[in-house]
Symmetry: C2
Subunit: 139 residues, 2 copies
């Protein structure tokens, strides 16, 4: 399904800016910040405003099209994948990785709260697989 269709299905007017923001977000695995999205798109739309990025991201989160991520203190990051999964922020390479969960693990999380749950995040800070293996030098 195209991102234009995705927007229409969520009753969001599919403007050029919104489509390109979603296109970018769905093409990367890096969980970019608002500023990273702006920097990536401004060559394509030189007139683009940062406000449009913020407006659009807030709208998309509100409507449940994407997820926001508070794994870093300062920046909010954004994730096109809204299925329940965890995130690892590697303290060596500073990248954010997806960690997928089994159904039973997702159920356990949903059962932690009695009332309605709107959003949950599992944010882990540690060493990613790649950096962990680099540390194991042969000798």
């Amino acid at each position: 399904m195209s991102n234009k269709t995705l927007l229409i299905e969520h009753n969001i007017k599919p403007t050029i800016q919104r489509i390109l923001i979603l296109d970018y977000l769905s093409s990367v695995i890096s969980h970019p910040t608002a500023d990273e999205i702006y920097t990536a798109l401004v060559p394509k739309i030189p007139i683009l405003s940062r406000m449009t990025i913020y407006n659009t991201l807030n709208l998309l989160v509100e409507k449940g099209v994407i997820h926001s991520l508070n794994i870093e203190e300062k920046n909010t990051r954004y994730d096109f994948d809204i299925s329940p999964h965890a995130h690892l922020l590697c303290t060596k390479c500073h990248k954010v990785y997806d960690i997928f969960l089994k159904n039973e693990q997702i159920d356990f999380l949903k059962n932690l709260v009695e009332g309605e749950i709107f959003d949950f995040q599992i944010n882990i800070k540690g060493i990613c697989k790649k950096c962990n293996n680099l540390g194991k030098t042969s000798h």
Copy 2:
């Protein structure tokens, strides 16, 4: 154990400011922000600077005495309880609640990552028990 002893055990010089910040943090269940701690303590130390709050909190997190919490977009919150547990931010009353975990649940979280884990957070946004029951009006 007193908070002064706690500081000494972590090789942190127990200044008046540091002791009072820890005393406040250990006496509340509200997971306060830096600014809330400042507002609570400034009547006791009128000369107190916000920088001391930030310096101290960063030091305490770095040394593993307390935990920082990124459950809200803007503010960092702080938690005296460093045992593994989840947090619920109630979207009605806007309070942060502790959700304690069973050992098997903690193990599951630790096994999500191969490499070393420095910190993990489970942040849930939803309705707390109190607000959930208020919603169930008798009729």
